[in-house]
């Protein structure tokens, strides 16, 4: 998935370095956001901070600064529902809640719950689902309160190291926890998680910390060390350099996830199947690395993206490959109405969120 990225750096109101850690001043965030939707080629413009199916918001209130991202689940497109509507409306509603002060800074779950409740109060019959991640900076107490539902998340980086991160919440592969509004009659079938099952955390922050919230489009495509590399380049605390960094991270992730033609998975992956357990299905004996697509459609497992990175890079190292395209097909229970993915091999450009392709650059020919 493509990412929405919002980005905050804590500075005290009266800038300039040398401030001690026992600073009594209120903290605030300097924020910037960037992202790409899958429809970028079509030039679809959406209002506000909406990138493809993902949406974000940044809102300020006198006691707190709040960031939020929501990733609309793309499977709804098959049912004629625009997945971005739900996430965008959810984020706009949360933004309004914060601006009007109808929230408690120490309880971002409350923002999510109220936001979800307000979605139900809309005359327009909204349908869809999305993940959500909300980060609240309480100005006075210098604490961050977070709430994450699904596979979006946040990172807190201090001194070039990740000090806090969110955990992914998934039911099964590519099916994150999600808030949803189902069509009538489908409530039992459509996944709908309550805001209460979200992960909450609270921790202190210091001046100069960098908070990065993003959807899984970033975290799936860009390994941590690359993100940290980009963040190291951020020297100033002004808006422009933060915007620049956000943009470069998003662009890199975008490139890494660039989707081209599906290519048969190379046989050498099968070769590695036994050695690299990372791509083995735990429950059945299926695994990535078969020739035909039909087998791959029955592939389902809990996917660990860090291990895939390792596998891919290991493969490259071992075999000095040319440009290699590995397709990771993630197809879940076909009976699940929201998540039926068909793979169309003749399609030039995939619109499905289930696909992430990694292009490796090697020295050989394709």
């Amino acid at each position: 998935m493509f990412s929405v990225l919002s980005y905050g750096r804590i500075v005290a109101r009266a800038v300039l370095g040398g401030l001690s850690q026992t600073d009594g001043r209120d903290y605030s965030l300097i924020t910037a956001s960037c992202g790409f939707g899958k429809d970028f080629r079509k030039g679809i413009l959406k209002k506000g901070m909406c990138y493809g199916d993902d949406a974000c918001f940044i809102a300020r209130h006198k006691s707190a600064d709040v960031l939020g991202v929501a990733d609309g689940v793309g499977g709804w497109r098959d049912y004629g529902v625009d997945p971005s509507q739900f996430s965008a409306t959810l984020m706009r509603t949360c933004e309004r809640l914060v601006k009007e002060g109808r929230f408690t800074p120490s309880s971002p779950v409350g923002i999510l719950t109220s936001g979800y409740y307000e979605l139900l109060q809309n005359k327009v019959p909204l349908l869809g689902s999305s993940t959500a991640c909300i980060v609240v900076l309480e100005r006075r107490s210098h604490r961050i309160h977070t709430c994450n539902l699904g596979d979006s998340g946040f990172l807190v980086v201090r001194g070039g190291e990740v000090v806090h991160r969110s955990d992914e919440q998934q039911h099964y592969f590519n099916t994150p926890f999600q808030l949803s509004i189902a069509p009538p009659g489908a409530e039992g079938v459509v996944l709908s998680d309550s805001p209460e099952v979200s992960d909450s955390s609270s921790f202190d922050v210091q001046l100069g910390d960098i908070i990065l919230t993003a959807t899984d489009g970033l975290f799936d495509n860009m390994p941590d060390y690359m993100i940290l590399q980009e963040l190291k380049k951020l020297k100033n605390t002004n808006y422009d350099s933060i915007q620049q960094t956000a943009r470069s991270i998003a662009e890199q992730a975008h490139e890494l996830a660039y989707i081209t033609d599906l290519v048969r998975v190379a046989p050498y992956l099968r070769f590695h199947r036994n050695e690299n357990e990372a791509v083995r299905d735990r429950s059945t004996a299926h695994s990535v690395g078969t020739d035909s697509l039909a087998d791959e459609t029955s592939f389902r497992k809990t996917f660990n993206r860090q291990k895939l990175h390792k596998t891919v890079f290991n493969v490259r190292k071992l075999h000095n490959l040319g440009p290699l395209y590995i397709a990771c097909l993630c197809n879940v229970y076909p009976s699940h109405p929201c998540f039926q993915y068909g793979i169309k091999p003749d399609e030039g450009l995939y619109q499905r969120i289930s696909l992430g392709l990694f292009r490796l650059f090697g020295s050989g020919k394709s």
Partner: protein, 616 residues
């Protein structure tokens, strides 16, 4: 010499005083200096301040839910969220009703006689701003179906001040007739307002949406004003405004004073002209057309009219709602002696901000409430438990009680209503009535015909209420359960089992009712007399529900199925064909119903007003 000097200085002083009477001394000196220095120097600059609303303090109704920020009155504060876009958006302030649909229902109150033709207001809201200013302009940003604002008033009280003054004055800045704009598009409504002589930061808007096609929506109100009194007031000769005359509240209270004086005038036997020849009843008939303030003024004119105007027969119906701004405890006590035969009393909207106290109201009730049949007390925030206790004790014949939006009334106060066993009509919209109280009311008031429990958020289980209604209130004709979140199909089934005479049922925004349980079809089959059915925002209403309604409820007049995806044109056509009395059909946000279909159906069935709202 010294007397001369004193005389001269006195003379000088008096001249200056006269000059500065209508302005401050510094302004007087400043303007004199300006005049002396010629045209080059400017008059003191008065800075115009522009403010958006800070807080909505009070209102009579709204469309949204009580803990929500969608379509609720609190959205009026702050900067506009929608304007200049038009459409039906959640971020606006929307009232509960529009048009004349609710007045057509039998559950509405009968109009009171003697309502002055200049009083059109159906709903109001009070909006406070940060800083008191002398208003120069008020702009209302209406974003959907504009034209509802009929009155703008300013209050002399600063609601945020720590020491509220005793004397609270409301001044009308602008008054107009209910209007309807040509298109439902957004507009900025800025009528020319009257200059007032006090600074205000509390505005009141009164609205009347009876001519509008759909709900009106307000986005923001801008108050423009100056901090110092406008300089023009210095040179302006105070005009005696006719409105000011009617503003003097002393007249109602003076009527009482006249009672004492009349005893001493027996000596003069001035002829009353031809009035002496007219029979008593005829003069009564003539006088019965006067509105209440005129009645009180006429009572002061001579003994004969005093006798007629104080006759209790003139006060069988009394509506004090149009005079909410002037009604005080003193007014009530002076009306006391005339209202002994009072049967219908409308004190809605009165008495707020300390004008009427609970004690004053209780003594009025004790004196005049014996024959009371109808009591309208909507938005009366002075009410407390003691008042309801007094009502319950002194008004045994009470049949209609309206406590809509009395949201400051404590929950235990409602227990007293159970003593009014003759109740036919009870409105508890937006009150804090609790489950135990409503259950005891239903137990002891079996004659209930009209019950409004809209937005009563403190009632936990509406299924229990429904089954009690079914058991005890068999003659129920109309039931308003707007936004009653936990009514389920079991409760509904029991309700329609017992209350067979139901004609009006409002189940808007009751999200727990699922059509798949068959509850709506069962409802249609059980209630052949149904005339009004609101299933607003129940996303499960489907074709088979409409078909059952078409088959069974031929008397249907109002139907609202906003927001469902499952209704198609075929069942709509069937319904329109089978329900010839249908007047209102709201299919807003029904995804299978587009504007082309609405146009077509409106052409085929011209008597039906088909509503399709849009968000743009």
């Amino acid at each position: 010499m010294f007397p001369m000097l004193t005389l001269l200085s006195m003379f000088y002083y008096i001249c200056l005083r006269r000059r500065s009477r209508s302005g401050t001394r510094s302004e007087a000196l400043g303007s004199r200096r300006a005049v002396e220095l010629g045209q080059r120097s400017a008059l003191p600059v008065t800075v115009e301040v522009e403010q958006y609303g800070k807080e909505v303090l009070d209102f009579s109704s709204h469309y949204g839910s009580e803990n929500s920020m969608s379509y609720t009155m609190w959205n009026l504060a702050g900067v506009p969220n929608v304007y200049p876009s038009s459409g039906d958006f959640t971020q606006t302030a929307v009232f509960r009703t529009y048009g004349s649909w609710w007045e057509q229902c039998t559950s509405s109150a009968q109009r009171f006689r003697r309502t002055p033709p200049s009083f059109h207001s159906q709903d109001y809201l009070e909006l406070a701003f940060e800083e008191p200013v002398y208003p120069t302009a008020v702009e209302v940003l209406e974003t959907y179906h504009p034209g509802a604002v009929v009155k703008i008033l300013a209050c002399s009280l600063n609601p945020f001040s720590q020491n509220p003054p005793v004397d609270v004055r409301w001044e009308v800045l602008w008054a107009g007739k209910p209007n309807k704009a040509l298109t439902p598009q957004a507009r900025q409504f800025s009528p020319s307002i009257k200059q007032i002589n006090f600074a205000t930061n509390l505005l009141r808007l009164e609205v009347n949406s009876s001519l509008l096609e759909y709900y009106t929506e307000l986005d923001a109100v801008i108050l423009r004003g100056v901090r110092e009194r406008p300089i023009l007031a210095l040179y302006k000769i105070p005009v005696i405004d006719i409105n000011d005359l009617s503003d003097s509240e002393e007249e109602i209270s003076e009527a009482g004073g006249l009672c004492c004086r009349s005893g001493g005038e027996n000596r003069h036997n001035l002829g009353n002209g031809y009035f002496d020849r007219l029979p008593y009843e005829l003069i009564q008939l003539i006088v019965s057309h006067l509105p209440v303030p005129d009645l009180c003024r006429l009572a002061q004119s001579c003994k004969l009219f005093h006798k007629h105007c104080c006759d209790p027969l003139q006060y069988i119906q009394l509506s004090l709602q149009p005079y909410w701004a002037r009604l005080t405890d003193a007014s009530l006590s002076h009306l006391l002696s005339r209202c002994t035969l009072l049967q219908r009393l409308n004190m809605s909207w009165t008495g707020n901000r300390g004008a009427v106290t609970a004690a004053g109201f209780c003594s009025f009730m004790k004196a005049c409430g014996v024959s009371l049949v109808c009591l309208e007390l909507s938005c009366c925030h002075f009410l407390n438990e003691a008042c309801l206790e007094v009502i319950a004790q002194t008004c045994p014949c009470l049949q209609e009680l309206n406590l809509a939006s009395c949201d400051r009334l404590q929950p235990q106060a409602f227990n007293h209503i159970a003593k009014l066993t003759n109740l036919r009509r009870l409105v508890l919209y937006r009150t804090k009535v609790e489950q135990s109280a409503i259950l005891s009311i239903l137990t002891f008031c079996p004659e209930l015909k009209h019950l409004n429990l809209g937005s009563c958020v403190m009632i936990e289980d509406y299924d229990v209420v429904a089954s009690m209604l079914s058991a005890r209130c068999r003659s129920l004709r109309s039931l308003d359960l707007w936004r009653c979140r936990n009514l389920s199909e079991h409760g509904l089934a029991e309700l329609v089992l017992g209350c067979r005479l139901l004609e009006e049922l409002d189940l808007g925004w009751c999200s727990t009712l699922q059509s798949s349980s068959g509850c709506f079809q069962h409802l249609a089959r059980s209630l052949p007399r149904l005339r009004k059915l609101f299933l607003t925002a129940n996303r499960t209403v489907c074709d088979s529900d409409l078909e059952e309604l078409a088959a069974n409820c031929s008397a249907l007049e109002h139907l609202d199925i906003l927001g469902t995806r499952m209704v198609s044109s075929a069942s709509l056509r069937k319904l329109l064909q089978c329900c010839p009395q249908l007047k209102l059909l709201d299919v807003s946000f029904c995804s299978q119903v587009d504007s082309r279909l609405v146009q077509e159906l409106s052409g085929l069935f011209p008597n039906v007003s088909i509503k399709k709202s849009f968000t743009q």
